[in-house]
């Protein structure tokens, strides 16, 4: 799963979703270090690995995300 950040957006995630949440403090710490260093693209936590996996094995990582998030799809509602 991608590096989810603990905010209101992720508040309704079920506890057994397998998602690891990054705190906003940790996000800020990593982001400010990257911005200070002049990074044009900040990839905190596992974002870097996800971008790498997309290049290395796109079908595999796409399917992994689908498997991990299938239960979050609302039933019967478009």
């Amino acid at each position: 799963m991608p590096p989810w950040v603990k905010t209101d957006l992720t508040g309704d995630l079920p506890e057994d979703s397998g998602v690891t949440l990054m705190t906003t403090d940790e996000l800020v710490k990593q982001s400010f270090a990257a911005l200070k260093a002049g990074a044009l693209e900040v990839r905190p936590g596992q974002a870097k690995q996800l971008a790498f996996m997309r290049r290395l094995a796109p079908d595999f990582i796409n399917r992994q995300l689908w498997k991990a998030s299938k239960d979050l799809v609302p039933v019967g509602v478009g």
């Binding site: 950040v5 992720t10 906003t24 974002a47 971008a51 995300l65 478009g78």
Partner: protein
């Protein structure tokens, strides 16, 4: 990027990632303005963190973006950082027809339309002040989360848009960065 002595506008800054960035920027000695849709929430934020400037504004509403632009340029002429952070995520079942087609576009209007509108409204002052533009994207820009298909698509769009901005702005002295958290 210089992280002190800046004047910074953060959309969706009343909670979550936006508020966390705002507080850190204040701690580092910056002037920070945050926007949000709900006045009551902004009032609470202002009461708790009096150093923050708060302005009610909805990034999905072009008229409110224009009004915000006029107000901020008048009140904060040194504005030199815009952080496009406001965003929402909705889990969607693509197999069922949407009951409300307009509602189906909500994420597009906020996550994409908001960023494009805000950038356009502030590009002149940011360029004049040799500023910095930060667009908050997501790791889901690289690989979609199928349960949040529209959100993932909006973040891919923002990632692409930011790359184009970077090239168009490279001779103006302005910088554009994207951040890829998620949440």
């Amino acid at each position: 990027m210089n992280l002190t002595g800046r004047t910074i506008l953060i959309t969706g800054g009343s909670a979550g990632i936006g508020l966390a960035f705002a507080l850190k920027f204040v701690e580092l000695g910056n002037e920070v303005i945050v926007t949000g849709r709900r006045q009551a929430v902004l009032d609470d934020v202002k009461a708790k963190y009096p150093k923050l400037h708060t302005i009610q504004s909805d990034v999905a509403n072009p008229a409110q973006i224009a009004a915000l632009g006029a107000r901020v340029k008048a009140d904060f002429p040194k504005l030199d950082v815009l952080m496009n952070n406001a965003g929402i995520m909705i889990y969607k079942n693509l197999k069922a027809p949407a009951a409300d087609l307009a509602g189906l576009m909500t994420e597009m209007n906020i996550n994409v339309g908001g960023v494009i509108g805000m950038t356009s409204a502030f590009i002149d002052i940011l360029t004049a002040n040799k500023g910095t533009l930060i667009n908050v994207s997501s790791a889901l820009a690289f690989v979609p989360l199928p349960s949040a298909p529209i959100y993932s698509a909006t973040k891919a769009a923002i990632h692409s848009y930011t790359q184009s901005l970077r090239f168009q702005l490279e001779e103006t002295g302005e910088r554009s960065s994207s951040s890829c958290p998620h949440g």
